[in-house]
Symmetry: C2
Subunit: 186 residues, 2 copies
């Protein structure tokens, strides 16, 4: 356990500003100078605390990959629950949008997305889908639908996608994800 430092407030301000900038501007356009300005400090502080820009991104998007345990829950509602869980998180955690935006243009971001997919989503499907060796493929299908909605709604902001309510999204995507998880291979 690391003891509290006098600079913890500054460090936190930097991380929050970085998350906002990465989420709204992407990796290249989120400049260290702009982030520092938002945080109300000098750009050189960012370097001192996080080494370089990539280190800052890693720190700003660090999170545990733990997902809720679906193993014990009724497999027939896994789709709906998964969609609801992701929509809720996406609404309240800028890191997800930041990672999606950065994952498209930055190599480290792409790698992090692969990691989250492999360690977060793929194992989870293993417990739900019928044939174990089909799990990665089914996880990819699920990812395509969930990331696609995030892309349309939070990044591209297509008006009809923005206007959907959370419950509408759950009602429409839930059965899709459920089918990708448990329906027999076509």
């Amino acid at each position: 356990m690391t003891t509290a430092r006098r600079s913890d407030a500054t460090r936190a301000a930097i991380l929050e500003a970085a998350r906002e900038r990465f989420a709204s501007d992407g990796y290249e356009r989120a400049t260290i100078r702009a982030i520092a300005r938002d945080a109300g400090i000098d750009p050189s502080m960012v370097m001192r605390y996080y080494g370089n820009k990539e280190g800052l991104f890693v720190a700003a998007c660090a999170m545990d990959l733990s997902l809720p345990e679906f193993g014990e829950l009724p497999a027939r509602h896994a789709g709906t629950m998964l969609v609801r869980h992701f929509v809720d998180r996406w609404e309240q955690d800028e890191r997800l949008t930041a990672m999606l935006r950065v994952g498209v243009t930055n190599e480290a971001g792409t790698a992090r997305m692969h990691e989250i997919f492999a360690q977060g989503l793929a194992p989870l499907t293993r417990g739900v889908c019928p044939v174990p060796e089909e799990a990665p493929r089914r996880a990819a299908l699920v990812a395509s639908q969930i990331l696609g909605m995030a892309l349309a709604r939070y990044v591209l902001r297509l008006p009809p996608a923005v206007e959907l309510t959370r419950e509408e999204i759950v009602a429409w995507l839930g059965p899709t994800v459920q089918r990708y998880l448990t329906a027999e291979s076509p």
Copy 2:
């Protein structure tokens, strides 16, 4: 009709190099210098022929938004046909990947995606889906699934998504899109 110019070969080389760079690097990292180097000419030529970087992007991604006519075709296969059509185009036209990558970080790219959605996909759903005023919402759902697969497969390159065959994609996503188009609202 514009008459042939002596520089048409160079212009075409620039556009092709630009498409490749935009598709693989995104807007910011696709520098004019790199594009010019790929095309084997001086960066200043790019400026002369296309004005500025944004003009180059517009020219490189210009295309007609016409989609095949689905109005006359059996509405019960519209989902499968739409998915097959998009997968085929995506495989052979770098402009689509370029537009997706750029649309995530660049404002002009986002605007172009809105345009393609509004003028390309949305009108097409109007002829297929039951209630006309639901057409935009259903088009957004379709877009989320199709763009999501493009994102996972061509941009993020999640291994299981890359390994899917075209026919597998059609077989899995076809029914999803069909449901988004024609199933009654949940």
